[in-house]
Amino acid sequence: MRLQELQRNLRDCPQGKVPFPVPESPLVFRGHFQKGKAMAKSVVSHVRICYPLPGGSALVTFDDPNVAKQVLQQKEHQINVEGFRLRVQVQPLELPMLTTIQVSSQMNDHRVLVSGFPAGLKLSEEELLDKLEIFFGKTKNGGGDVEMRELLQGGVMLGFTEAGVAQHLCQMGQFMVPLGKKQSCLRVSPYMSGKIQKAEVRPQPVPQSVLVLNIPDVLDGPELQDILEIHFQKPTRGGGEVEAVTVVPPGQRGLAVFTSKSG
């Protein structure tokens, strides 16, 4: 049985396509071409970096990166506030960026892909995953212990503790699964998982932003924000137009979020 199935799969599989059903994704040619032979290319988008800010710190973002550079020339800044001085340190900001990624894909015999969901299904992600885990967790349905589950575009991945369960479900192929009021005919097929072969991360400077550290605990949050903004806007102090100031008062924490301009 297994042998016949494999032989059939290999025969029917055209070069470059995977020999089992996978969800379709509409693609468009937008004019990106290269002379010569086809090479694998990919696009990286939606870069998002979360940077923890310690208590007693602030993040100042300038309009002009040259202003940031100027501000950084002085490691220590003295901020005059109504009769006393706040001494703070400034530092450039560097964030880790992925510079190289190598991923290989291979058949995963503990996992399956469930697809064929009807359009307009009114279930939340959690509800859908729960219903599938319940159904495919039962041996009477041909399933078994579910170890992991993940919602993908056009399908759900289920991982089982036993490889035999995954194989069996793929052989059965189709199932009537209750999803809400009706039963839906869902398809189960093999799943290919990815493995990171290489991932390099390098620090990249954020030219417009500056970290302000060791802010003494003498002012309230909102006051501190105003004071910092005023100080760093003064051209006489090497400052300039400030786009944003984020303050984390002593004893608190904050997470600064950075995103790529395009994604």
Partner: protein, 309 residues
């Protein structure tokens, strides 16, 4: 009489025994045949499975990512402690599926899906290119599969990776020396939560109690560790964890881009000019076309066109 019967019984028994022996022999023969066949079949299954693995390894991603501009967007205040122990990076990666455009082929992308489908339905199109009239055939573009996934990287603010540790002391003692050295604030260290030391590779993972210490130490390339009056410099580097999420293979399907064939014997050899003529023809509604986004053809060498989401 009894003797005869005894004899009969004896003969019967012997016959039965002989039969059994024969059956056994026959059975053994077929059993060994079956075992042989089984081994052969198992081997074939293994070979085919290996071949299947090879063909499905086609979707590999190998990408050097150019510098992306990053900007401050917002500030968040999550509840959980774990979000503050790392600087976290995430991004999405998806394949651009290549299509090798052979000599005589062209790709045309329409703004609207219905127009593309109509052009395919009409199948044959008589297009004027300079002084020639060429009959082009429109078909959907056969596309390979691609992959899509998310990458998550966590750079720890509490842990550092240490390497090039000399193999001078037994494991437990070295662990203590590492803890002592990395606690010394005068060298930039701080209170150590725990040390994981691997004597074989000469590496260790140091976890600090406070968040700022790792950053301070990482500003230097190496760090002093004191062993028996000697000072050794060990290498320090950030501790990162990387993993994939939402990995999936998808089958590329082209809804707005159409494959045109029939340009092989064209007199005109300038690709740009031919592309212009094709574009003009298919812009016209009376030709079954509509708004055209892009045209690319190959009149000599093959080109690789990339399809994206």
């Amino acid at each position: 009489m009894a003797a005869d019967e005894d004899n009969k019984e004896q003969v019967l028994k012997e016959c039965e025994q002989a039969e059994e022996v024969m059956k056994d022999k026959q059975n053994q023969k077929s059993v060994s045949e079956i075992i042989k066949e089984n081994i052969q079949l198992k081997k074939e299954i293994e070979e085919l499975e290996a071949e299947l693995q090879e063909t499905t390894r086609t979707s590999q991603i190998n990408e050097d990512i150019p510098e992306t501009k990053i900007k401050f967007t917002s500030v968040e205040n999550p509840e959980s402690d774990s979000e503050f122990s790392d600087i976290s990076y995430s991004c999405q990666v998806s394949s651009k599926v290549p299509y090798e455009l052979q000599k005589g082929q062209a790709l045309i992308t329409f703004e609207k899906e219905e127009v593309a489908q109509n052009v395919i339905k009409m199948a044959r199109h008589l297009v004027q290119v300079q002084n020639e009239n060429v009959m082009l055939t429109a078909n959907p573009v056969p596309l390979n599969s691609g992959v899509r996934f998310q990458v998550y990287v966590g750079v720890s603010k509490m842990k550092i990776s240490v390497t090039d540790i000399p193999d001078e002391l037994p494991e437990s003692q070295m662990r203590d020396k590492l803890e002592l050295s990395f606690s010394k604030s005068r060298n930039g260290g701080g209170e150590v939560e725990c040390v994981e030391y691997d004597k074989q590779t000469g590496s260790a993972l140091i976890t600090f109690v406070e968040s700022g210490v790792a950053d301070k130490i990482l500003k230097m390339k190496d760090y002093p560790v004191y062993i028996n009056q000697n000072c050794y410099r060990v290498t320090v580097s950030p501790y990162t964890e990387t993993h994939l999420k939402k990995f999936q293979v998808f089958s590329g399907v082209s809804k707005r881009t159409v494959l045109l064939t029939g340009l092989k014997d064209l007199q005109m050899t300038d690709e740009e000019t031919v592309e212009d003529f094709i574009s003009i023809h298919f812009q016209r509604e009376k030709n079954g076309g509509g708004e055209v986004e892009v045209v690319k053809c190959s009149l000599g060498q093959p080109h690789t066109a990339y399809f994206e989401e």
